[in-house]
């Protein structure tokens, strides 16, 4: 997911809910909802519009005043999981 100019955004038919700490998602084609914790809700909020992985990393690193490399290591498996589960698509 970290390659080049590919943009990512929410899949169009995902049902979701925010809780105090997480986002619960039910993408089309899946039978069971799953939850995102940690930085997941923030990533989900960013993906209302199409963004590259690098752009998402830069935004979150800026918000948290964190090292972009650390944020990238945190975000990459999360985004891969979201794509794999059908909650996020390449835009």
């Amino acid at each position: 997911v970290s390659d080049g100019e590919v943009r990512f955004q929410r899949a169009p038919h995902v049902l979701w809910r925010s809780t105090l700490e997480t986002v619960v998602l039910l993408p089309a084609g899946r039978d069971e909802p799953f939850a995102l914790a940690g930085t997941g809700p923030e990533l989900w909020a960013l993906l209302t519009e199409a963004r590259t992985f690098a752009a998402a990393v830069a935004l979150l690193a800026d918000v948290h005043g964190a090292d972009p490399e650390v944020v990238a290591r945190d975000l990459e498996p999360l985004l891969e999981r979201l794509v794999e589960q059908g909650a996020v698509v390449r835009g």
Binding site: H13, L15, R17, S18, T19, L20, E21, L26, P33
Partner: protein
């Protein structure tokens, strides 16, 4: 705790109810949490705690998060069911309108997380009720909670058919309330041009105003004792959507549900201790039933 639940129900509205200044003792919070689940108020409690408008200990917040997560999972399953059922009915040329919790969560509230719900409710035209039951039986494996009393009952006199799809409940309605009020509702009003709302990338149809308010009011009025969330729905629709009073009263008169409307509005304003007196509240306070009891 009941008064605390009313305070939760009024969260975000101008109310004289005020949250506690310090976290409740754990046993009292546990009671409140249970009551908020029973009354479908847990979303409001979540927003109040999340906004630091309701003090809570870390443990209480953790317990609340667990319950909200469970309700969220349930909501998503219910919404998936609404989408599937609506698509099946549409494919068979059966009109439908999404009612009650699912519709209110997505039309009356700024965020659907505020308004939790247990079941799915769809309105279908009376003549199509029996066919709609069959369509959902074939397409979703929906099973009747109770057998039809006799062949043709649904089509002629049934007001609603509760179905089960796995652990989820879905009720098909031919009227918007299951009591005498429902007998006077004008069918054409129910299928007037709908209020459309997005859900999961699709567009669903709910009752427009003032029908949605009258339905919410009728639900609150026959709910004994009125569940706080039904009262909140009434207040929410009045305060957020500012329905035209003349339109509301003309339709309430035609549906012969003025008494239910007045009762729901006055009860909501009293129970939630709401400040401000919109014209509909003034009307409700002064309402006197005529000799037909409307």
């Amino acid at each position: 705790v009941t008064r605390l639940a009313a305070t939760v129900a009024a969260h975000g509205l101008p109310s004289r109810h005020t949250p506690p200044r310090a976290p409740l003792p754990d046993d009292e919070f546990d009671q409140l949490l249970a009551q908020c689940e029973d009354y479908r108020l847990i979303g409001f409690l979540g927003f109040a705690v999340g906004a630091a408008a309701w003090p809570a200990t870390a443990g209480q917040r953790h317990a609340l998060e667990g319950r909200i997560a469970a309700w969220s999972v349930h909501a998503l399953r219910a919404e998936r069911l609404v989408l599937r059922a609506s698509a099946l009915l549409f494919a068979e040329d059966i009109r439908s309108r999404v009612l009650e919790g699912v519709a209110l969560a997505h039309t009356a509230y700024a965020q659907p997380e505020l308004r939790v719900f247990a079941d799915v409710d769809l309105l279908v035209p009376g003549p199509d009720l029996a066919r709609a039951v069959a369509v959902l039986g074939d397409g979703l494996g929906a099973e009747r909670v109770q057998p039809e009393p006799r062949p043709g009952f649904d089509a002629r006199v049934g007001t609603a058919v509760p179905l089960r799809v796995g652990h989820l409940g879905i009720t098909l309605h031919r009227v918007v309330v299951e009591d005498a009020f429902g007998l006077t509702v004008q069918a054409d009003d129910l299928f007037a041009p709908p209020y459309r709302f997005p859900l999961g990338g699709y567009e669903l149809e709910a009752l427009p105003m003032p029908q949605r308010l009258l339905h919410a009011a009728s639900t609150a009025a026959v709910d004994r004792p009125a569940r706080r969330v039904s009262l909140r729905d009434v207040a929410q629709l009045v305060l957020r959507e500012h329905p035209n009073l003349v339109d509301v009263l003309l339709m309430a008169r035609a549906w012969r549900c003025e008494a239910a409307l007045a009762k729901a509005v006055t009860t909501a304003w009293d129970a939630l201790a709401l400040e401000g007196r919109p014209r509909i509240v003034e009307w409700a306070d002064n309402f006197a039933p005529d000799r037909l009891g409307s």
